[in-house]
């Protein structure tokens, strides 16, 4: 499972004909086989960081995955998966076909696809829905399908951009449990972007706090609570519904 090293990352883009710096001279390490949570206020650069790890756009600095510069790697080589808030499923496909799709694209055998789809459906509690279309499922179930579609390829790196923010507390809790269970059983590296501190504290092993595109904090839970940083303190003090 990859360890991600980010050195002097800088991302600037044009917004309404004006150059905007989203991330400035950011250096950090995302440990392997852990859940790293990226926290920060809106516009702090959380999503931009994920996009940079995905190599979606040009950036300054360097991002290395297990020591290899990601700009020299093909996306297929990296074995990563990405889930965002907009978990658009293929509406004309059944849930089975939605889950099977990533495996079909890599040419897995039908037996293997069937086995892994059923395994994933059982894991996510979707067995009963397999022959249905997405419109028959609730938002929470659709989100589970979306997560399943990302996990089914058994990625070594999973990038999550606030995927559960649309869900209510109970669903979110369920999803976080599933995510935790999966991470424990498969030992993958997860980068989880959220603005919900209680979710982050429950699920995270490693914490990264961004503030206006710069690093405000990086470390484990104990260090996070001990941090005197103003952004961290305001995050920890933020009121949230209990999880």
């Amino acid at each position: 499972m990859p360890e991600i090293e980010i050195s002097h990352l800088g991302v600037t883009y044009l917004h309404r004909k004006k150059e905007t710096t989203a991330i400035r001279d950011l250096s950090l390490r995302i440990p392997n086989e852990k859940i790293s949570v990226v926290l920060g206020a809106s516009g702090s650069g959380k999503t931009t960081l994920l996009m940079a790890i995905l190599n979606r756009f040009a950036f300054d600095g360097e991002i290395r995955s297990d020591g290899v510069d990601i700009e020299t790697m093909e996306l297929g080589q990296r074995n990563l998966a990405y889930v965002s808030q907009t978990f658009d499923l293929y509406p004309h496909f059944t849930i089975y076909d939605n889950l099977a799709f990533p495996l079909k694209t890599i040419g897995a055998s039908h037996e293997e696809i069937d086995e892994r789809v059923l395994e994933m459906a059982d894991f996510l509690g979707l067995r009963v829905c397999l022959s249905r279309k997405p419109k028959d499922l609730s938002v929470g179930q659709q989100q589970r399908v979306s997560l399943g579609r990302a996990l089914i390829k058994r990625p070594s790196l999973l990038l999550l951009d606030e995927p559960f923010s649309n869900l209510d507390v109970a669903f979110r809790q369920k999803m976080l449990h599933l995510l935790r269970d999966y991470q424990i059983s498969s030992q993958i590296t997860i980068v989880y972007v959220t603005h919900q501190i209680k979710d982050a504290l429950w699920v995270g092993d490693h914490f990264i706090v961004l503030e206006q595109g710069t690093l405000a904090f990086e470390g484990d839970k104990n260090a996070l609570f001990a941090s005197p940083n103003r952004s961290v303190r305001s995050l920890l003090e933020a009121e949230e519904e209990p999880i």
Binding site: P91, H92, I113, V117, V128, R132, D136, S138
Partner: protein
């Protein structure tokens, strides 16, 4: 603008699944309509040889003979021609039978709520059911030929239709046998017995099912061969898939209540509400 996501208000659970095969038919028509069209496409593809032979007979050979031959010679020619084409149909029914065999697997997976890999599963089903489906196609071809022979041999304008009508009564047995053969790996005779069981247990539905081939037979009274041909194409593509899926589910319903209930409880009500409620009880 952000697209509005279509989602149900509540979690989908087993209680939303169809309770029985009849409900399942309606559910499939509503939710898997494209599947019926794909089945129709397959059936049309399997019927190409038959449709070619049919159009050669009625659109090429007979019109040409009508022009070239005298009235009395033409009548004798049509008799010979019918029997010759029956021989060709005997071969043309074979791909139809094999296609039905492949389609049976697709419908089984659909009914059981399994994942479907359309073409691979179709070919797999075609191979798995090849023995039964080709034998049934051969028997159908022989009955068809015999019926034509008797039709020509019986001079009475009404009675000459009797062998064909009686022959059609055997059609449900053949179709039920094919369904049974596609479900269990058993001998042809055992499948035939299973088919008999299905037909005997659901005679009312069988009679209703028979309306379809009888209605289709009336197409032969249309005097224009081109229209007959077009109607046949439409029936094969657009109607047969619904009738066949309905027939398959009817057979499955009977088999759930009999053979599956007794010998294969894991298959009983598979794809229906009962399957999940049963496993919930077992948990």
């Amino acid at each position: 603008m952000k697209k509005k996501r279509k989602a149900a208000a509540h979690d989908f659970d087993a209680t939303f699944l169809p309770k029985n095969r009849r409900e399942q038919f309606g559910d499939l028509v509503k939710n898997r309509f494209s599947f019926f069209l794909r089945i129709g496409g397959l059936l049309l593809l399997g019927s190409v040889l038959f449709l070619l032979a049919y159009s050669a007979k009625y659109l090429l050979v007979l019109p040409a003979a009508q022009v070239a031959l005298k009235q009395e010679d033409y009548l004798a020619f049509t008799h010979t021609n019918t029997l010759v084409f029956d021989g060709i149909y005997l071969i043309a029914f074979l791909p139809i039978g094999l296609t039905l065999g492949g389609v049976c697997r697709l419908i089984r997976l659909l009914a059981w709520g399994k994942g479907i890999f359309f073409w691979p599963d179709f070919w797999k089903g075609l191979r798995q059911n090849a023995k039964a489906s080709s034998l049934l196609a051969l028997l159908f071809g022989l009955f068809h030929g015999l019926n034509d022979f008797l039709f020509l041999a019986i001079p009475h304008p009404v009675f000459r239709y009797v062998p064909g009508g009686l022959g059609l009564l055997l059609l449900p047995l053949g179709m039920a046998t094919l369904v049974v053969a596609s479900l269990y790996s058993s001998s042809f005779v055992a499948s035939l017995k299973g088919g008999l069981l299905v037909v005997a247990k659901s005679i009312g539905w069988v009679l209703l099912f028979l309306l379809f081939p009888f209605a289709w037979m009336t197409v032969s009274f249309i005097p224009y061969p081109v229209i007959r041909f077009l109607v046949d194409v439409v029936v094969i593509f657009a109607l047969t898939p619904f009738v066949f899926v309905g027939w398959y589910l009817l057979c499955l319903n009977e088999l759930d209540r009999t053979i599956n209930h007794r010998d294969y409880p894991a298959y009983e009500n598979m794809g229906l509400q009962g399957e999940f409620l049963k496993s919930r009880k077992e948990d």
